[in-house]
Amino acid sequence: MSFEPKNPAVKWLEDRLPITGMLHHALYEYPTPKNLSYWWTFGSLAGVMLVVQIVTGIVLAMHYTPHVDLAFTSVEHIMRDVNYGWLIRYMHANGASMFFIVVYLHIFRGLYYGSYKAPRELLWWLGLVIFLLMMATAFMGYVLPWGQMSFWGATVITNLFSAIPVVGDSIVTWLWGGFAVDNPTLNRFFSLHYLLPFVIVGIVILHIWALHTNGSNNPTGLDLKSKQDSIPFHPYYTVKDLYGLAIFLIFFSAFLFFAPNYLGHPDNYIPANPLVTPAHIVPEWYFLPFYAILRAVPDKLGGVMLMFGAIAVLFALPWLDKSRIRSARFRPIYKQLFWVFVADCILLTYIGGKPPEGAFIIWGRIATIYYFVHILILLPLVGLFEKPKPLPASISEDVLSKKPASEEAANA
């Protein structure tokens, strides 16, 4: 399996810095389960989106001015005057949403197939760290155009820290660099918004390193047992991922060219006004479930703690889930609970976008309670009491047992 280059230049390099061999091992010969479905494409799509965001972001930073008096007009300058500025900005703004879409699907894939279970706990943790960094980066990026939603989103989110007893107000003043969200805040957010994506790149490398140490999970949740269970990454999965990318880019382009502002909020085309709060402020769609949890609690500190807790409990998932079976395919009860949980997350997203009044408050509370009940109570109990379906002996056996059906289809 070792990498033996024939090209003398590559060999010269390899003897001094074995980087070609490392890439060869990771992207070429890497033995991958042969039964991966398209749900396994979202990891590579997330990687592509990270690159898209960094490239478009670097370009935007060449034309943007991080100052309260100039930020809004510099964004309009990008939209109207800079060559293809409209395209690059819309790619960046919609790209953030696309990044979250693929990452959410990637996370739910992991939940369904038990990809967080031993020996992949650390891989799961690194993924959650990437998710947290993405949220911080996206939040600070949304502040930069300095529209009304930028300003008031920044105000509300930074004020979350004022819920911390005793030192809360000092921390908020420290975050702002003043007594309200103002120019110092905008400047530091720009600096950190530029920095964090590169931190994400670093964690992504660790994430892939941890992945390749134990190999990818797969729809059966079984470990690779023999050579028959795996195929090399290239060309099988490079091609599969590229096909997935092509389909995904059509989806991305549909938003980019036909509804570039659909996922945004019209109030952000009004310049920031520190004296007037918009009547209905909502975060970007990818924060709505957490926003719904924040608002479900009629207490400031309680709401903030529960919101952060919603992500914190995910770190404990590998130990909360008591089942030894990874894949939900063989877990009849967990499989149903998974889809209830997905529906609950969608409900939270919907509630998060609605005003905090009437039935929305009640439903928000029910959905919030269920979120925690699923993770903290149902998941451990189901693992203990559920009777799993019989597991196939190996990935190969599972794949071959489906063959007759596909042969019939081919013969028909």
Binding site: T155, V156, G178, F179, P274, P278, K300
Partner: protein, 175 residues
């Protein structure tokens, strides 16, 4: 014994002391080096300098309100009506989430001066709305009364009264 680090009474060696002293100095030095990088994020001197705002009360009619800016924050200057004042004073303090009599919140009961920032998550409440005739925060639904006290909703405290003084009958200085 041929050891080069002589053993002392209770097993403590010279080398142990050197380790701890070097490590301790390193920790203090690192903390000292980090301090400026933390401190630079706090308000700078020019931000701290913008600390007072004067307001001319002439022309603010009874029942109306103006918003002025103090330290980058909106401050409501409300000329209260007799009815507003009565409603603010006629409240059972035991019912309040953050009990405070109206008299503690004003210098002259006609003028209510307070920072117009919701104590929940920092939005600017809207005047003349909500269940108590005062202010209502549209972000997360906090209701304030005619004294700016929290009555209902997620906010934990009353609207903040900034430090201010009457320079004469019709001028105040905030800050």
């Amino acid at each position: 014994m041929t050891t080069t680090t002589p053993e002392e009474e209770n097993g403590v060696k010279r080398r142990d002391f050197l380790y701890i002293a070097a490590g301790g100095l390193g920790a203090v030095g690192t903390a000292a080096a980090i301090w400026p990088f933390i401190s630079q994020m706090n308000p700078s001197a020019d931000v701290l300098a913008l600390s007072t705002t004067e307001v001319d009360l002439d022309g603010i009619e009874t029942g109306s309100e103006v918003t002025v800016v103090w330290q980058g924050k909106p401050v409501f200057v409300r000329h209260r009506t007799e009815e507003d004042i009565e409603r603010a004073e006629d409240v059972d303090l035991a019912d309040l989430p953050d009990p405070q009599p109206d008299s503690e919140r004003v210098i002259n009961p006609e003028w209510l001066i307070m920072v117009g920032i919701c104590t929940h998550l920092g939005c600017v409440p809207l005047k003349g709305q909500g269940d108590f005739g005062g202010w209502f925060c549209p972000c997360h639904g906090s209701h304030y009364d005619t004294s700016g006290r929290i009555r209902k909703g997620p906010a934990p405290a009353n609207l903040v009264i900034p430090p201010y003084e009457f320079l004469n009958d019709s001028n105040i200085k905030i800050g």
